[in-house]
Amino acid sequence: MADPPRLSIVVPLFNEERNVAPLVDAVRQAQANRRDWELLLVDDGSTDGTRRVLRRLAAEDQRVRPILLARNYGQTTAMQAGFDNARGSVVVSMDGDLQNDPADIRRLIAKLDEGYDLVVGFRVRRKDRLISRRIPSWIANRIIRAVTGVPIRDNGCSLKAYRREVVQNLHLYSDMHRFIPGIAVTTAGVRVAEIPVRHHHRLYGESKYGLSRTWKVLVDLLTLTMIRWFRERPLLMFGWGAAGATIFGLFWTTASVISVVAFRPTKADAMVFPGVAVLCFGLAFYLFMLGFISEVALYGRSHAVPRGEP
């Protein structure tokens, strides 16, 4: 293929040996007559026969490009690997377990062409279990929406379409892929749209996530929010914390004074309030120093970071 394809579909896979071939078929069918697409199947260190199947599928169709990671890294890194190798001007990400429907890809792209940079699918009529999947998901989505300020209804839906420029500026790691819309919007002023997409039962295999994921998601969310605030002025952020601690310290100092003046306690008893005040001031100092160190850690960020990631 001489020219780069117009569309790159990225699918991270982990132990999906029975889902891969149906997936490729579904994609092929959905793309019907078009030829200018490529399918990047990123194998995230699968331990079953996924690689074997990938080899066969790649041999049969040039548009199928498997990328084999050296070990299991996690969905976010696998997706990043796919993004790094995508050549299309439009990139679509999808789940590897056929819960997303490839037929929705056309509609995503159509929406993109209306003038958006990122189109996100939200799942209607979800087929998951209510208690352990859908309710935690709903909670997490509300929180994410509130914190990032980005009104995305369904952050857990992997079906998303991006313009190449958006993808190029992403450097994903840990479990960040859930927050891509949040990151993209706030950092690069990207225009986001949402469209409803279909959701299917998981056909084969078992889901890889559980309830504990919600807690991890929240921690990651905290991190990302902090980083957004920090971005330009870490000293300022830590400075606020230091100020808060100082105020606490002043409060306890006052309490100490009042206590000594009004109640005349013994020397030993008089130590507690001042002790707490000292702790507060110590904390304030510590946070302030951390602010300085953060400035050092971030030194040169505006110049040294490639590709102008803000």
Binding site: I67, S174, L222, L279, L287, L298, V305
Partner: protein
Amino acid sequence: MAQGDAKGTSEPTARRLVSVLVSVLERPEALDDIYREYSAPLRSAGYDAEFVFAVAPWHRSLAEPLTGLIASGHPIRVVEAAGARGEATLLKLALASANGDPVITLPAYYRVDASALPKLVQRVEQGADVATARRWPRMDPWLNQMQSRVFHRLLGRLAGGGLDDVASGVRAMRREVLETIPLYGDLLRFLPLLAIHEGFAVRQVDAPQHRRDQTKRVYSPGVYLRRLIDLLGLFFLLRFTYKPLRFFGLIGSAFALAGLAILGVLLAQRLGGQGIADRPLLLLGALLVTLGVQSVALGLVGEIIVHFNVPRRSTYRVEGELSEEGS
């Protein structure tokens, strides 16, 4: 000297250049003896072996016996480190002067029998990225073996890997491994674990222990402490490379919650009329909250560091893209 090529040679008779990197730092033996003993098996196995000795400045004199050998044409090179501190730096220096692939790292003292070297290289040629030597069967005193076993059990629990002799120091690896993995300080000791973490294939090869590897008696307690700290540091590094806040945040939250619980109880008592100005428990509560906040704040700084460093380093390794030829 025959010039070996890197990869892809399928003729078994072509002589390949293997570089043996020797870091001369701790309790070094006579270097010319080392050269003679360890180069022989490699040559008989059909390899061209060049030896690069990276010498710490205070061991400069040890390199003198080698000059004679170099003059008579033996493939030896000596690189002197200008004040280098650690073994990792020495090894990096040696690598810079080395031309072969795969490379073998060898300490300047006797660990394994020389016959192990060709076996290690062959293991790498068979597809491993790193082949590390495990001293077996062992001849040391029982106490040493016990210590080693306990250490490696702990290592396996903390950092995974299934390795039994991480510290043997004798390893063959593809050049790329040494060039890719960030190594500094004492991390070199754990190279196989770091390699696994980076996605390389690490295999263990049994190698008979060298008769002169008497190793020590019982180590001083300071050494144990250092090893323990190494293990903890490694554990943290491997598990939380990209998510420091999870580690610090968990610890910090635990402390803060405990502190808040105590403060809550005290608050309730205060509101109920009881004075709290003389309660040391108040101090404890405040301390725990403070420690918690400090821990979380440190985690945030860690996250900042990670976040802004990620674009500079690739976070994954690809084994290959399947095209027509499989891997």
